[in-house]
């Protein structure tokens, strides 16, 4: 019963969480937007109404029309399609960077929690050092040295964000280590790997997921910022940041490019942040007052 029941309970638990997430209107919207983000990220190329890099100078700098829902940019490309395809870059970056960062962070955090005081102390020192670099400046420095590319950006984001996961995991594990039910496990003679997997990990993964969901907008923002500066993805690949830059250059001609390019950024930030906060409310048993 134990193994089978736990598979069953894990699935139902996830389903329960999702159900609770969708129970409020704001929660529902955020779940929809997040799903849309990933879906468009994969299918963007196919569902875009226009070819995002095709020029059409005659139609340049138009506001929203029936043909071009969000208008056109300075060389006549359809902004809406470009934004859709730009989702690819954003989602790829977000997923890759955050997953790698998560994995490294959890791994290092667990090590730090179980190792000797001195190793733990040195690891904390390293985490704090990395956190002292302002992320965008650090990104600029690395790009100056190694040139802009998607992988460089991923590397920068991973290095800048893994310390917060590591610290979080370490704190959680340290406090759980002294929890009574962990002691009960040790009294039973449970082995360390078992305690880690069955008892510590499930309780740690919740807060980590919450931080991850709030980090995704940060990653998207960094990419957008870098692309805005021309140091992110290379043209003609559309990215929300490059579209913003185009809009900025032509801000006195038409406001629509800037406005449109801001929309996906706002939407994703709202959705992921709301998701994170709702997750926190749902997963924290102490908040059941």
């Amino acid at each position: 019963m134990a193994q089978g029941a736990n598979k069953h309970t894990r699935l139902t638990r996830v389903r329960n969480v999702i159900r609770k997430l969708c129970s409020t209107p704001l929660g529902l919207i955020s779940v929809i937007v997040v799903t849309a983000f990933f879906v468009v990220g994969i299918t963007g190329d196919w569902i875009a109404p226009y070819d995002p890099i095709k020029l059409d100078i005659r139609a340049k700098l138009q506001g929203p029309t029936a043909a071009h829902w969000l208008g056109t940019d300075q060389v006549g490309r359809d902004v809406f399609s470009r934004l859709l395809v730009g989702t690819k870059v954003a989602s790829y970056l977000a997923v890759t960077a955050v997953s790698i960062s998560l994995t490294i962070g959890i791994f290092l955090g667990m090590i730090a929690a179980f190792t000797s005081r001195w190793v733990d102390w040195s690891m904390l020192l390293i985490f704090d050092t990395v956190r002292s670099f302002p992320i965008l400046m650090f990104a600029l420095a690395v790009i100056a040295l190694f040139g802009p590319s998607v992988n460089t950006i991923i590397g920068i984001v991973v290095i800048s964000t893994f310390p917060s996961y590591a610290r979080l995991v370490r704190t959680q594990v340290l406090s759980l280590r002294n929890a009574e039910y962990i002691e009960a496990q040790r009294a039973m003679g449970a082995s360390l790997p078992r305690i880690l997997m069955r008892h510590i990990f499930p309780n740690v993964i919740g807060p980590v997921m919450i931080v991850a969901s709030m980090d995704i907008p940060l990653v998207i923002g960094v990419e957008a910022g870098l692309s805005f500066l021309g140091l992110g993805v290379r043209p003609p690949t559309p990215s929300w940041g490059t579209i913003l830059n185009d809009g900025f250059s032509f801000i006195r001609n038409t406001p629509w490019i800037v406005v449109s390019a801001g929309l996906p950024l706002i939407l994703t930030t709202v959705a992921f942040t709301t998701l994170g906060e709702r997750l926190r409310d749902i997963l924290d048993p102490k908040l059941r007052r």
Partner: protein, 560 residues
């Protein structure tokens, strides 16, 4: 207002929290100059009433009916300004948790200055008042304490500070909400004595909210008994305690293990008083197998904790701080015997038990379990022994993994020890739960969905999963209402008979242990100061500390 009207008049008061009624149209009076005990178990509504009288009900509470008068004034119509005038002056409140009642970021002296906000004396004079109050509550090194922060004080000292603050206020009405519940018995006795002196000194009226019936008997003049929002009985202590007219009250009194003089095999419980059975010395002797070697034998065990040094300490060459938690402790438990390890907080009893289990490393000594020296084997070899000795932990709900269902938690020892193959685990879980009196539907519940008593039973079930020879029970009755304590007691008593279990109970609750234990081992500051059979130790304690302990817990009733 004449001097004979009650100080507090409550009429038909109803307080709700959403749909839940905490106080159900309650009518009671508190007479001037009297000490009123407000007694009830958790959920009775007694704290809610106390909070209402000082106007500090939580955000979610609504007063839906009734009136509440203090000294003739209508409290329900009070504005914030009105409250500001009487709080700390006419009405004072000492809260339940002394650990958190003091502001953690201000020094004690500063906080005691704040209390005197209504007086126009100079700061020096106010500090002098504070010092005098601290001395009155017998705070050691009172002058030094004024410049300390709360976290530098022990729990008992913090409680003294709270009472000192109240002394300075010289209120007409003093409300104490479970002020002594969290304290060790010896400390509780002192605080109660202090409160009594205070009352005689100032002549104030007191509302003493608690669930400790014995304290009420000693301290209070009147008593009101509550159950689930209703008043079951009220009257003078003398009347109610000797001749209760309400069934709930009389049940409560009969079930209190501290009021049952003779040693019992089974204690009466709230809804089945008939369970009571006196202990039979013959049966007890037969249960214990004294002839063969003891099941567990601990010899000269030392356990020391080292406090890790910070960077600065290492640089300045400060030596490591060591705390000797257990010093040269020796203890035997025969098969079938129940031994109580008794001490107050900090005595080392929990540490000793955990060391016997090798959950905590020990420096010196021997631990012999059924012929094997546990200290000489490896961790892996220790595993099978963990099946024979199982541990039941203090926090009933906290000792269960919060994301695991009860059914899974209960059979987990089987999985861990590798004995789960070939067994239908769900059936095993049901069997174990039935053994402790829980129905089948508990199998799918989560820990936070149960009451403390139910969770405690699950802990027992889990401890029994591998049919151990011995159970170590850490404070099995802590945090449970008195009526539930009896149920757990009966459960353990039954199990030890049917399964020939040895039990090592770690506790400071002498009342229950007196009935359950064959032998008592008293610990003080890490050392075992006395051992003996329960009757002998209680009748004729030899060590000074034992005498103090017994007096505090069992009061003078037992001829100490």
């Amino acid at each position: 207002m004449t001097e004979h009207t009650p100080l507090v008049e409550i009429n038909d008061l109803a307080i709700k929290f959403g749909a839940h009624t905490a106080v159900n149209n309650v009518t009671m009076d508190i007479g001037r100059g009297r000490i009123m005990g407000l007694v009830g178990e958790s959920g009775s509504g007694k704290s809610t009433i106390a909070n209402a009288i000082i106007g500090l009900l939580p955000h979610a509470a609504q007063i839906s009916n009734g009136s509440l008068r203090f000294d003739g004034r209508d409290l329900l119509s009070f504005t914030a300004q009105d409250w500001g005038k009487i709080r700390g002056k006419d009405v004072a409140y000492v809260s339940q948790d002394p650990m958190s009642a003091l502001n953690p970021v201000l020094r004690i002296g500063e906080q005691m200055l704040d209390i005197q906000h209504l007086s126009d004396q100079s700061n020096t004079e106010k500090l002098a008042n504070a010092l005098a109050a601290l001395e009155q509550v017998r705070m050691p090194q009172a002058q030094a304490r004024l410049s300390m922060y709360p976290h530098e004080l022990s729990g008992g000292q913090k409680q003294r500070v709270c009472i000192a603050m109240v002394i300075m206020a010289r209120p007409k009405l003093l409300i104490t909400d479970e002020a002594t519940t969290a304290l060790d018995a010896t400390l509780e006795v002192e605080i109660v004595r202090l409160l009594k002196e205070l009352q005689t000194d100032i002549g104030c009226t007191m509302l003493f909210v608690t669930h400790h019936l014995t304290v009420v008997e000693e301290l209070c003049d009147d008593v009101t008994v509550m159950y689930q929002g209703d008043i079951k009985e009220c009257g003078t202590v003398a009347d109610v305690f000797s001749n209760p007219s309400d069934t709930y009250t009389s049940n409560l009194l009969s079930c209190d293990p501290s009021r049952i003089e003779e040693k019992c095999r089974r204690l009466p419980i709230m809804f089945n008083l008939g369970l009571k059975e006196l202990a039979d010395p013959e049966t007890d002797r037969n249960r214990i197998n004294n002839t063969s070697r003891p099941l567990l034998s601990v010899r000269h065990l030392d356990v020391t904790f080292r406090k890790p040094r910070s960077l600065i300490d290492i640089l300045t060459g400060k030596p490591e701080q060591r705390v000797e938690a257990v010093k040269a402790a020796s203890l035997d438990i025969a098969p079938g015997e129940t031994v109580a390890l008794i001490g107050e907080s900090g005595s080392g009893k929990s540490t000793l038990a955990r060391a016997a289990f090798r959950l905590v490393p020990s420096e010196k000594g021997e631990i012999d379990f059924d012929g094997t020296d546990l200290l000489s084997i490896t961790n892996a070899e220790m595993r099978p022994f963990r099946n024979e000795m199982s541990l039941m932990m203090q926090d009933p709900i906290g000792s269960l993994s919060p994301r695991m269902r009860v059914g899974t938690s209960v059979i987990e020892p089987l999985i861990v020890s590798g004995k789960a193959s070939g067994l239908n685990l769900r059936d095993e879980a049901i069997r174990l739960l039935e053994l402790v009196g829980l129905s089948t539907d508990f199998v799918d519940r989560y820990p936070h969905e149960m009451s403390g008593g139910q969770a405690r039973r699950v802990g027992v079930a889990r401890a029994l999963a591998l049919r151990p020879k011995m159970i170590i029970a850490d404070e099995p009755t802590a945090g449970l209402d008195v009526s539930i304590q009896g149920e757990i007691f009966n459960l353990l008593a039954e199990l030890r008979e049917s399964m020939s279990l040895s039990i090592l109970i770690i506790t400071h609750n002498l009342h229950v242990v007196r009935h359950l234990a064959d032998r008592m081992v008293i610990m003080y500051h890490g050392e075992i100061v006395e051992t003996g059979t329960t009757e002998n130790v209680i009748r004729a304690p030899k060590h000074a500390y034992t005498k103090v302990l017994l007096e505090a817990n069992l009061h003078a009733k037992y001829g100490v």
